[in-house]
Amino acid sequence: MMPGSPQLLTSESPSLASNRLAGGTAGHRDEWRRAGTILTHRRWLGMMGALAAASVAVCILCLQFGATRVDLATLLSVMTQLLTAGNAEAAGGDTAATIMLHIRLPRVLMGFVVGGSLAAVGVTLQALLRNPLADPYVLGVSSGAALGAALAMLLGIGASMMLLPVLPLCGFAGGLLALLLIYRLAQSQGRLPVHSLLLAGVILNAILTALIMFITSIMEPNRSAGLMAWLMGSLTAPGYPALGVLVAYAVFVLALVMHKANALNVLTLGEETARSLGIETERIKKQLFVLTALLTGAVVSVSGMIGFVGMVVPHAVRLVVGSDHRLLLPASALVGGMFLVISDTLARTILAPAEIPVGIVTALAGGPFFLYLLLWRKDRML
């Protein structure tokens, strides 16, 4: 890409470009580089410590709420049993303990991992695409995963979400296929221009959504209802083994992305700048892109489509901690985890004994906030 070519101007906001060229002091520059927030070890540790403590507190608090009355005493006894005996056998035979240990606890943990993953992926994509609207769903990877799962359900092979998770595997395959397709679509001369990537994602999303809708329209009404319910987001934990697999995915991907946090910081200044500073932009973009798609595929295949976490949480966190990705990434992950745990607790309890899809709660909580940003803080957004 030639400096100053139209592609460059379309792939990053004009204000940012003019900022860099003219050294202006518009709001956008403050957005990415807050004055006076040089990241020190002390600040990082303080912020992360506070957020980690808050996360633990939120999880313990949400463990107390549910459709059934399982009080703090049960929670404590189960916890002590769990810590002393160290396995599930200790809490056998007692319904309250089973509810706490095998339904509520895995579900809260699942919410935390899924929310954290979505938020971290959102941060990464927003930096990669230098587009505040980027979110795991924009790329169509989630739709691909959902389509894979829908096909599995249609063929009647996707059933068990527990021991042998056929459905997640199909979803994962679908997500990866979507990713490969996006690569083929958006690649031109060995490069990955940001705007064509976004466009490819949008188009692919439309196609995949249409295919999912087609599948639901030819399914038995009962099965399509189940599929739609799953698509709207569900954190019914398939049990600890599956949870462990998802945690492994999340930790693996987040560690690698954190490793590239500095590169992300430079990338947000624009690709020309990044390249002039000796960053291999194309290679890093591809790596991070594959990583985020992997994690998104894994998350979606387990929990369906939960929107807004990856879009709204990074924004809120950026307003508070600034935009140094070394802090923004882990902080967003923790806040995203908390956000989804709280949302899911509402989803579990509002209509008890019935539940509502958690995607509805996240959209209702996150949507208005996002509109507010869009309407009243346009200078900071676009």
Binding site: G92, N222, A229
Partner: protein
């Protein structure tokens, strides 16, 4: 000069406006409005107003009235349950179009297919039906409107209770001159249901969870047809508190309510797979799991508010109360 011209223009405009308005008002007073009133009178007096409901007119479940001058001979059914009813009362011959899911009785499979949730209107018109029987939930208002414009009589049947089904069978019997057969079937069904109700009076109800979908858990609640069948067959639905016909149910509440029987609807292309059923066995505290009472039941038998509800109820009773031998069920 300029201002003068503007005044003249304004004056002329005003004059024209007054004259036009006046003439319109005058015309309306003289002819135009009189014409309207005359037409209105025509609406009030010129229609064949039916003070009585003749034996050839019917009111469907959407409250729409239909008058059949002669017995329909080219019928389209847009619901598997309606198809079953038509065959049951011996009107299968007149059936010229069915949905993709109409698979019972076997003869139904040979009929032309019209889709399901979005029936193909062109194929429908090409069949030249003189009666279309449709369920409320799968036919969109715009489709009904379109068919009305095309002068195709559409009759909506929406069944949520056993009584509805009996009523539908008898209505279809009257429509198609099959009243004798239809009344006999309705009578038998009514007796079967009453007998089962009577037998269940002295039984203590069994707590049941009906698993429509495992992940997330979806079951049947109050207001759904299956919930009513379960209650007739001597079951207490653990989702009774949910107040929704098809709730996403909290697994916590299920464990707390402790169902004694788990029911899995199964079918050809639908239903809960074996591995999914096995996964339910992880809930060791559940009475149903401890006693190994995870049962399968044919999905279309319970899902369809049709003439096979007698069989469905008998099967349910056999599953829920194996201690009593269910009486012979009558085959429609």
């Amino acid at each position: 000069m300029n201002s003068c011209g503007r005044w003249i223009l304004t004056g002329v405009t005003l004059a024209v406006a007054i004259v036009t308005g006046g003439s319109i008002a005058w015309a309306c007073g003289e002819g135009g409005c009189a014409d309207m009133t005359r037409r209105q009178q025509g609406i009030l007096t010129g229609m064949p107003f039916m003070a009585h409901v003749s034996s050839r007119s019917f009111v469907d479940d959407a409250g729409r009235k239909m008058y059949l001058a002669k017995t329909p001979v080219r019928i389209v059914s847009l619901a598997p349950s309606v198809t079953e009813m038509l065959f049951a009362i011996g009107a299968g011959e007149q059936l010229i179009g069915v949905t993709d899911f109409c698979d019972y009785p076997p003869e139904a499979k040979a009929k032309p297919k019209l889709g399901y949730a979005h029936p193909n209107l062109e194929s429908l018109m090409a069949l030249q039906p003189d009666l279309v029987l449709a369920p409320q939930e799968f036919l969109k208002p715009d489709v009904i409107l379109k068919l009305e414009q095309l002068k195709v009589p559409v009759f909506i049947l929406s069944a949520t209770t056993v009584e509805d089904i009996l009523g539908h069978i008898q209505t279809l019997g009257r429509m198609l001159d099959r009243s004798v057969q239809a009344n006999a079937i309705a009578m038998t069904l009514r007796q079967d249901v009453a007998a089962i109700r009577l037998r269940m009076q002295n039984m203590s109800p069994v707590r049941v969870l009906y698993v429509l979908n495992s992940h997330p858990l979806i079951t049947v609640g109050p207001g759904s047809f299956i919930d009513q069948l379960l209650r007739i067959a001597g079951a207490t639905n653990v989702a009774a508190q949910s107040q929704l016909p098809y709730p996403r149910m909290s697994l916590e509440v299920v464990l707390q309510q402790d169902p004694e029987v788990l029911l899995f609807p199964i079918g050809k292309a639908e239903g809960i797979s074996d591995s999914e059923q096995q996964a339910w066995r992880q809930w060791q505290t559940m009475t149903a799991v401890r006693r190994g009472r995870l049962h399968q039941i044919p999905a279309d038998l319970l899902n369809r508010p049709g003439p096979r509800i007698g069989q469905a109820l008998t099967m349910l009773v056999n599953i829920l109360h194996p201690e009593i031998a269910a009486g012979p069920s009558s085959q429609p």
